[in-house]
């Protein structure tokens, strides 16, 4: 790790539209070596388009993407040689075995001979596929395919790793294994950009997170910094028969309480402490004609997302 080395990834005010629909609207962030940076947002928030611009597949309409100081779209491909991409879809050759897949992807990144063999064996070990290396990928379960998908992004030991929702559709055990592997990459000094719509995952592994929706960065910081945006105290969520006006009145007359969001019979409040929380609950039961669900939670990124966008992350 050179002291004067530029940021692993520098994204500056990038924009991209599909026809008239703006998918990414002025996104900026940077990722350092050894850091796991999360792009958190619901489906359609612009995460994959941002990744596509970073990986040089889409040219930004404006703004700039630098990978270790070089333009992502640099025709020499130098920048892309230092980058490993793990796309959301399982992008591998099912007719080939895990070993054949890894050999091919290693070769196109310039590995050959003994170094290729070593890299392939190492990637197989990392994802736990060494004992099934000669089996055709078409015979693998979804979880094993995900692991191979990840191994392909790792085989050439990239300095920057782009992971686009790498745990979609797999069981909890396989997810834990992949998350552990991602952490190990950062610990080895690699910069990792991780997109997800699973809040727990992001909270668990990311050093910094950017919350995105409708192509914009709504908030950015460490998990602790983002939590503070919601408030130190608990978050109360309600589902029931209460009008938005009544909810606002409840918030106004309860000390230490603020309304985060209210729509369609659902609302969430932040309370400054336990006393404010119990006062809020009393007021809510008094105001509502019917309460279907009432929850009191510690402040989470889910609550932050709700506060910033007025909707849940999985909406």
């Amino acid at each position: 790790m050179a002291g004067d080395e530029p940021e692993a990834l520098q994204v500056s005010d990038v924009r991209y539209s599909y026809g008239k629909a703006r998918a990414v609207d002025g996104v900026s962030f940077s990722v350092r070596r050894g850091e796991i940076f999360g792009l958190l947002g619901p489906n359609g928030a612009g995460k994959t388009t941002t990744i596509s611009m970073i990986s040089g597949l889409l040219p930004p309409e404006s703004g700039q993407v630098l990978i270790f100081g070089a333009e992502a779209t640099d025709p020499s491909g130098r920048a892309r040689l230092r980058m490993g991409v793990v796309p959301q879809e399982i992008a591998l050759y099912e007719e080939l075995s895990a070993r054949e897949n890894l050999r091919f992807w290693g070769e196109i990144y310039g590995l050959k001979g003994a170094s290729l063999d070593k890299a392939v064996n190492q990637a197989l070990e990392q994802v736990g596929l060494a004992d099934r290396a000669i089996e055709r990928a078409s015979k693998y379960s979804g979880g094993l395919k995900r692991r191979l998908n990840l191994a392909i992004g790792l085989v050439h030991s990239p300095d920057l790793l782009l992971l686009d929702e790498p745990t979609v559709g797999i069981d909890p055990q396989a997810r834990l294994r992949i998350l552990g592997l991602v952490k190990a990459q950062a610990a080895a000094g690699r910069a990792v950009l991780y997109t997800s719509h699973y809040l727990e995952e992001a909270e668990q592994i990311c050093d910094r997170i950017a919350v995105v929706d409708h192509g914009r960065v709504l908030a950015m910081g460490t998990v602790a910094e983002l939590r503070r945006l919601v408030g130190e105290g608990p978050v109360v969520t309600l589902k029931g028969d209460v009008s938005p006006e009544q909810l606002q009145m409840v918030a106004d007359r309860t000390p230490g309480v603020s309304l985060i969001s209210a729509s369609g019979g659902a609302a969430s409040f932040s309370a400054s402490d336990a006393a404010a929380c119990s006062g809020l609950v009393r007021e809510l039961f008094a105001a509502a004609t019917k309460v279907d669900d009432l929850r009191v939670q510690e402040p989470t990124l889910e609550a932050l997302f709700l506060k910033l966008t007025g909707r849940e992350l999985r909406d």
Binding site: S52, S55, G56, L57, L58, P75, G77, R80, L81, M83, V85, P87, E89, I90, A91, L92, Y93, E95, L96, E100, F104, W105, E107, I108, Y109, G110, R136, I152
Partner: protein, 423 residues
């Protein structure tokens, strides 16, 4: 260059790992060829041991019984015609039609009463040809022969001019024994033909008789159906294979492997060239397999090696280019499947895979010349007909130009689609 090789080898490994699609595509033309050959009922030899052409079975009902109609009916029974035709005279139309329905004839020719007199007197007349609807090729052959015969008869009648009625009168009155009439007619015809000899003589085309100890490949004296048909099936099979292999572009796009390569150090040009190259290799292998089947199982002789290699290379280039061009225009695999199947079959039909292009109307022949199949079929048929460099050169040149143009255009269009984000 090494990336092109890596990408090409990867595709070939994938083909070898899952060759089912390739085998299905090879089986289609073989099955069609087999079915058509069986439909003719005889795959026997045209030479001593080679395959022979089926004979045209023609029924003739001569209601005229004049000397012109006798000449016409008799012309079909000379020794050369007898090698290719079986002509059977029937006394009336009904009995002829019955035999046609019983599949005894491919066609029934009815010469109407007064036919000869009309011809000699310069009046318009007609011949009736009833084609067997249950057969496809032979009735067309019968129609061609009849049309040629009618053309010559009309020409001869016009040449006779006003001597025609006199010939008719002499024939009908039994005046052939009258030396005075014959002398007068001969003098008249001599004057009439005097101007014609400059046009007719010396003949532009002379027939040289040659003797051979062994029949030349594909020139066994008869029409060799298998050697004629199999080249068309090979070209069709190659196009099927080319289209199915080029579909891999869309498969890779949908699977995300194409984006993944492009997100790495692989440029779109490298990716497209390697894809075209791998398709070319598979099409070459398909061509080789089909030719080997033709040679081994059907006794087809593919001619001298170098012209064959050059022809095959040009054909592979043209088929690959055509496939690239097609897939630069389709958006989904399903579209590719549907369009590929239809276009291949239509081009095979137009290009003469099933019927000779020579029997097509001129406008259709002009369209046929725009197809890869036409040039491919003609090239391979020139080889199976015993041809060498001289015979295949014109077709080969066209195929090579077609291949280069279509491959370049296909790659350019595919690249443009990629830049638009559609690939």
């Amino acid at each position: 260059m090494s990336q092109v090789l890596t990408l090409t080898l990867k595709d070939l490994r994938r083909r070898l790992a899952d060759p089912a699609a390739l085998l299905v595509n090879l089986a289609i033309p073989l099955a069609i060829a087999g079915a058509m050959i069986l439909a003719f009922g005889d795959i026997g030899g045209g030479g001593d041991s080679g395959p022979a052409a089926p004979k045209l079975r023609l029924g003739v009902v001569n209601l005229d019984e004049g000397f012109v109609s006798e000449l016409l009916a008799g012309a079909t029974q000379n020794s050369e015609a007898a090698r290719h035709m079986e002509v059977r005279q029937e006394p009336d139309r009904e009995s002829g039609l019955k035999l046609l329905r019983d599949q005894e004839f491919s066609a029934l020719l009815v010469i109407p009463k007064g036919f000869g007199s009309s011809v000699l007197n310069g009046r318009k007349t007609s011949l009736e040809l009833i084609k067997n609807p249950a057969q496809s090729i032979m009735p067309v052959v019968a129609q061609q022969i009849t049309e040629v015969g009618a053309l010559y008869a009309s020409g001869a009648a016009k040449l006779l001019g006003d001597a025609g009625p006199r010939v008719s009168a002499i024939a009908e009155s039994g005046g052939w024994q009258n030396a005075q009439d014959i002398g007068a007619l001969a003098a008249s015809l001599a004057i009439r033909f005097r101007g014609v000899d400059e046009l007719m003589l010396p003949p532009l085309i002379e027939i040289d008789e040659t003797k051979q100890d062994e029949p030349a490949a594909g020139a066994s004296g008869g029409f060799d159906l298998i050697s004629w048909m199999f080249p068309g099936m090979i070209v069709m099979g190659m196009i099927f294979v080319g289209m199915s292999q080029m579909k891999d572009l869309l498969r890779e796009r949908d699977a995300g492997t194409m984006r993944r390569q492009l997100a790495g150090p692989v440029g779109p040009g490298t990716l497209l060239i390697s894809k075209v190259l791998s398709v070319g290799v598979v099409v070459t292998a398909a061509c080789g397999i089909l030719m080997a089947i033709g040679a081994g199982a059907m006794g087809i002789r593919w001619g001298p090696l170098l012209p064959l290699a050059a022809s095959t290379s040009a054909l592979v280039l043209a088929v690959t280019g055509f496939s690239a061009l097609m897939f630069s225009m389709v958006r989904t695999e399903r579209q590719g499947d549907a369009l590929g199947g239809i276009v291949t079959m239509v081009m095979s039909l137009l290009g003469g895979a099933f019927v000779p292009v020579q029997i097509m109307p001129a406008w259709m022949l002009n369209i046929a010349r725009l197809t890869v199949n036409y040039w491919g079929n003609e090239t391979l048929r020139a080889l199976t007909g015993g041809g060498g460099w001289a015979e295949v050169a014109p077709y080969l040149g066209v195929l090579a130009v077609l291949g280069l143009v279509m491959t370049s255009l296909g790659v350019l269009l595919l690249r443009r689609r990629h830049l638009r984000g559609a690939l």
